[in-house]
Subunit: 342 residues, 2 copies
DNA sequence: TTGTAGGCGTTATCAA
DNA sequence: TTGATAACGCCTACAA
């Protein structure tokens, strides 16, 4: 019955342990610890000391059972690399406020069976909300209506318009890229992008073409060079481009990897970046942008913001009607030396 | 009282709802759903149908409260990019068996205050175990003894020998790299690595030197080129190397990024890879190994295995004494074209 | 100011 | 075979 000392792997102390050590009832201990009124200062002090001695930390399970909310949100992803999920997760953590809400991360690895399985596990754990992150920025199957928790899709929108989806505004990002290149004095701008079946690739191209057209400029090379999201494609497309439009003075690449291939090929052709040709990438993936020669300007999709807004929408949905439809969030241009003014 | 249809955001059904719909007691419904004996086949069918109709899924909180275990493990990381945590997380998920155990991911972002905070949150949520993933492969501060749950450190070991740590066997990985290069016919091998303050860099170099010495070979360039974990360092170190030891026929790079810089500089010097010089990297980071020209041989740290073993050790620790000390797990060599036999 | 008691959803024990 | 009941740890009306 003496004061319990910490022992290796001691079982966690309960409120009852604290109350007993403090010589008060469980109810009083609870009030004291939660800062409720109707507790004398002396009693409060005694209880707090007892809790301290026992390293008491309240059992969040029991609290959750009672409160009807767990303070946990599920993050269901298919993003093997984690390069999408992690920033989104961090944004969500920030928005919820560290400690108040935790994130349960489940990777379905592109397997819909596993996804359903994870979904059921998350629902069983009574998460307060769900963020679904797709692997590519195109509509993906909804995980279902009538779920007992609010759901927000991030990066990849749901194919059900009744769901709420948050995506990057790729159209305006395309405009942004062109606008920037024009501002640094370029006029003969080409666009080398990735897989044409990606909606994001189409959207970026649409935005870029719209902005060019608004400025009465033509696309260098006469067409968008769609291919694959690889460095190799960036190289070979650039060779084709140089053959068709040797006067090109800027390239808007659909990804940072493509941009690296573009720069590579430009160097091989004896051209200087940005002296002869300015290059801007997409994704702002640091390992590419900073190791590139010269450092690569790029467009950041603000994934942290996506996560933050997802968290806000979930919080809003808990107490009120959930939104629906697709919400496009702005991207951000990060200028570096590859597009320095000539 | 009629059968409840699913409604948008309907509250989750409880066991009591199922029992009522099936016309049995809560106890019977529980037994039927859990496949326990002493339930008639007819009753079981009725209960299962009721559960199905209500999309019943048991409240894991209530189960956990009773069972004294939550089926959740915490993953505490400082790995901003997620390139360590995600593979480790996936390995752990696999080992636990999907669905039986979920992983709560917390990123401390290198901030020890935040780390303590996350730790308390995780303990409060009564996780069954904790995996701590450091950002760099050197001893890191222990999160403390006498914790009420078992802890395994992965990638970065704890500085307290009483803790259990799982790390990659960098020494034997260094031997492995040299052995491979020798097997493809190389004799004049150099080692360009990263920051010398990293224990892993030292270990890999130690292993490499030991293997060279065992084969009576000298290190090309006469010393290990320590620098930084960057492509730029790979390039400049290679230039120095070529000036000092133009006869070099292989380079063991301390990371894939360094290896890319090495290959770059070799190409600039008019040398062929692997024709003139073979190059092997470290980390087996796919975006680098496959986009490299030629595709880069590399050493994989088997992070999934690290996660899997961490999960196994945690499971073992739950029912029995936890281990302690540092356990080194083998790496794996992935050959590609950059070290094809000459 | 303090303590008693009920309930959150589930499982297990024991009686019917 | 079934069902009432007691936990698990916590919070909160309400009673003392």
């Amino acid at each position: 019955m003496g004061p319990a000392r910490q022992r290796p792997n001691a079982r966690a102390a309960t409120l009852e342990d604290v109350a007993r050590l403090a010589g008060v009832s469980i109810a009083t201990a609870s009030k004291a610890l939660n800062g409720r009124a109707h507790v004398s200062a002396a009693t409060r002090t005694i209880v707090l000391e007892a809790a301290e001695r026992l390293s008491y930390s309240p059992n969040a399970l029991a609290q959750g059972l009672l409160a009807g909310r767990t303070g946990i949100v599920g993050l269901l992803t298919s993003d093997l690399e984690g390069r999408l999920s992690i920033p989104i997760l961090m944004g969500a953590e920030d928005a919820f406020g560290a400690g108040r809400t935790s994130v349960l991360l489940c990777d379905a690895r592109g397997d819909s069976i596993r996804e359903v399985h994870h979904l059921q596990t998350l629902l069983s754990r009574r998460v307060d909300g769900l963020i679904v992150v797709g692997a590519r920025p195109d509509p993906r199957p909804s995980i279902g209506r009538n779920l007992p928790v609010p759901v927000v899709y991030a990066y990849a929108p749901s194919d059900d318009p009744a769901d709420l989806s948050l995506v990057s505004d790729n159209v305006s990002a395309g405009r942004m890229a062109i606008e920037h290149l024009v501002q640094v004095g370029r006029r003969r701008i080409a666009h080398i992008s990735g897989d044409a079946t990606y909606g994001a690739a189409q959207d970026r191209a649409t935005g870029a073409l719209a902005e060019l057209s608004a400025r009465s400029l033509d696309l260098a090379g006469g067409r968008v060079f769609f291919g694959s999201w690889s460095e190799a494609w960036g190289r070979s497309a650039t060779r084709m481009l140089l053959a068709q439009a040797p006067e090109v003075d800027a390239v808007f690449a659909g990804s940072d990897q493509i941009a690296r291939g573009v720069i590579d090929a430009l160097h091989e052709a004896g051209l200087d970046v940005p002296g002869d040709v300015a290059v801007i990438g997409f994704d702002n993936w640091e390992i590419f942008t900073t190791s590139s020669r010269p450092p690569l300007s790029s467009i950041d999709m603000n994934l942290e913001t996506l996560g933050r807004v997802a968290a806000e929408r979930l919080s809003a949905a808990v107490d009120g009607a959930a939104g629906s439809g697709v919400e496009a969030l702005p991207c951000r241009l990060v200028p570096r030396e590859s597009t320095t003014s000539a």
